[in-house]
């Protein structure tokens, strides 16, 4: 397997053993996002405690990239503050939309840097972003409550 590959062990790891999968109570917002071009789906719930992300729970189906991305999202956001988590989302989005030209900030992204290889494939970028966009959406909604 080549180093620049999209299929980092880490992604396969998350795909096969997803972290925090399943829909849990309590939650302030639930969203359902679909990628119409490839049929990937995610249902995602956010539970906030004050400024803190207490839980991100989800169910979904699709390719390993979309599923692993949800797992990594769970890991990175749970326990952080809303503000911190949104800056991770921003950095991840920037990386994904950078067409392989953007140097990822490893300090911010942690495990999510494994997705760097995906950025070169526009058709896959949406797979990686699906759960992350859903998360952003859910945070907005739960804050609005």
């Amino acid at each position: 397997m080549i180093t620049d590959s999209m299929y980092q062990e880490l992604i396969l790891e998350h795909y096969k053993r997803p972290q925090g999968r399943g829909l849990r109570e309590p939650y302030e917002a639930e969203v359902h996002h679909v990628n119409p071009t490839c049929g990937d789906e995610i249902t995602l719930r956010v539970h906030l405690e004050g400024d803190k992300v207490a839980d991100v729970s989800y169910e979904g189906q699709g390719c390993s990239i979309s599923q692993a991305a949800a797992s990594v999202l769970h890991e990175l956001t749970k326990g952080s503050t809303v503000t911190e988590s949104l800056s991770v989302v921003d950095e991840f989005t920037r990386l994904m939309q950078g067409r392989g030209q953007v140097e990822p900030d490893e300090d911010v992204l942690g495990d999510a840097v494994a997705f760097a290889g995906v950025a070169k494939f526009p058709a896959r970028v949406k797979c990686a972003l699906l759960s992350w966009m859903a998360y952003k959406d859910a945070v907005v909604r739960s804050s609005a409550v």
């Binding site: 590959s5 490839c38 390993s64």
Partner: protein, 415 residues
């Protein structure tokens, strides 16, 4: 005719390329776009370097060299598809533009030819196995004009379902694919033409997947319009073709307006050039048309019958080999009659995106994954996506073996 695939492969520089990580390229994505042989690349380079100028309008040595080469390409392409007249070959930028040109020629309020008027109550007929490029232009036409869009369904084994009364007296045009870019199915053109003629409707064929792979004679096909695209037939990007019967092209309103497509222009009105120039506004894809001319020379040199036979062999070989993989399901006809060298399939429990990416990552095998711009067809089969292997003159049974090995490995990775 002896078909020497190893000799042919030498004509395509990329096929001897080593990919990053020391992988050899196994290119099984020609249905998406084909690779280019040296004669095409060199013809373009030589023209750009030494003979380039604008066509038609220029009256100097370079202008005449470019014009001659550009119009000679039209002759070659006309001959390649059996067009009764060279003036029936309209250059576009791709098959999509060709189909849109046609769609925009209907329901144009400034044209009164009854064959091209379109409005509420009128019907457009396509099929469920179309490429988006033969769906969306007709949806947009229906939206602009109030006409109704109808379609033939697809049977479980991937054939066009011509039963039912889809075509009626209100049908103005029937536009279907000659060969499906997903199923490989070759459609029964004669029967479609017969049904359309009974209803007095025009017939258009999307031949993007047939012209590159089979000897095609537009006159014999009997349709009114045939669209195809250069990049899938060892030609360059940026060039496509709409063939149409001359009297129909003449009756159609112009599509894009501008230089080259006019006869005379006043501020308040214009008269238009004879076909095909009426449909070629502005500076055309000059070098691209010339490259496509070199491409059909190359294909003719190899022989379209020979290419067709070679692909038939590859398809038979691949069909046998693939069907032995557990959990692999071919979407489309598995019998070899009336089908081309395109095989789409699903692999149980593994998303096609993952299949494609592992094949590429680990083995340098290029296949296409997704809905291949035919989402409604995938909806019809209740699947979001397939993996597609498509063959061309330069592919080998060895490459199919590599694909099979690769698929086994994919199953291992995701086991």
């Amino acid at each position: 005719m002896s078909f020497d695939v190893e000799r042919i492969r030498k004509d395509f520089p990329v096929l001897s390329r080593e990919l990053p990580g020391g992988r050899t390229l196994v290119y099984l994505d020609s249905g998406n776009s084909s690779q280019k042989p040296t004669p095409v690349i060199e013809t373009m380079r030589e023209h750009l370097a030494m003979h380039y100028s604008n066509v038609g309008r220029a009256m100097h040595v370079l202008g005449s060299e470019s014009t001659e080469a550009y119009e000679a390409a039209r002759d070659k392409i006309a001959a390649f598809v059996g067009a009764p007249s060279r003036d029936e070959v309209v250059f576009t930028k791709n098959a999509s533009e060709a189909l849109n040109l046609l769609a925009y020629s209907l329901g144009n309020r400034s044209n009164t030819d009854p064959r091209f008027t379109l409005g509420e109550g009128d019907e457009i007929v396509i099929s469920e196995m179309e490429h988006h490029s033969n769906i969306v232009p007709w949806q947009m036409l229906a939206q602009r004009t109030g006409a109704t869009l109808k379609w033939f369904g697809v049977t479980d084994d991937g054939r066009l379902d011509l039963s039912g009364d889809v075509i009626t007296d209100r049908t103005k045009i029937v536009s279907v694919t000659h060969q499906s870019n997903v199923l490989g199915t070759v459609n029964p053109v004669a029967e479609i033409v017969r049904l359309a003629r009974q209803a007095g409707a025009l017939v258009a064929l999307d031949a993007s997947q047939s012209v590159p792979h089979h000897p095609v004679d537009v006159a014999a096909l009997g349709a009114d319009f045939v669209a195809f695209t250069g990049h899938k037939m060892v030609g360059p990007s940026g060039i496509g073709v709409l063939w149409g019967r001359q009297e129909l092209l003449e009756a159609m309103p112009p599509f894009l307006g501008g230089g080259e497509m006019i006869e005379a222009v006043w501020m308040d009105r214009s008269t238009y050039a004879p076909v095909p120039h009426k449909f070629e506004a502005g500076t055309p894809p000059i070098v691209e048309a010339i490259g496509l001319g070199a491409a059909v020379d190359y294909l003719t040199g190899v022989g379209m019958e020979a290419i067709e036979a070679h692909e038939r062999d590859l398809t038979a070989y691949a069909m046998r080999a693939l069907q032995e993989i557990s959990g692999l399901k071919v979407i489309g006809p598995t019998d070899l009659g009336d089908r081309g060298g395109t095989i789409s399939f699903t692999l149980e429990g593994i998303h096609p995106h993952d299949v494609g990416q592992i094949l590429d990552d680990q083995f340098g095998i290029a296949v296409r994954v997704g809905h291949h711009c035919a989402r409604p067809l995938h909806l019809r089969f209740g699947i979001p996506a397939t993996t597609r292997a498509s063959f061309y003159l330069y592919n080998t049974t060895g490459e199919i073996d590599a694909l099979v090995r690769g698929l086994h490995q994919v199953q291992k990775v995701f086991a």
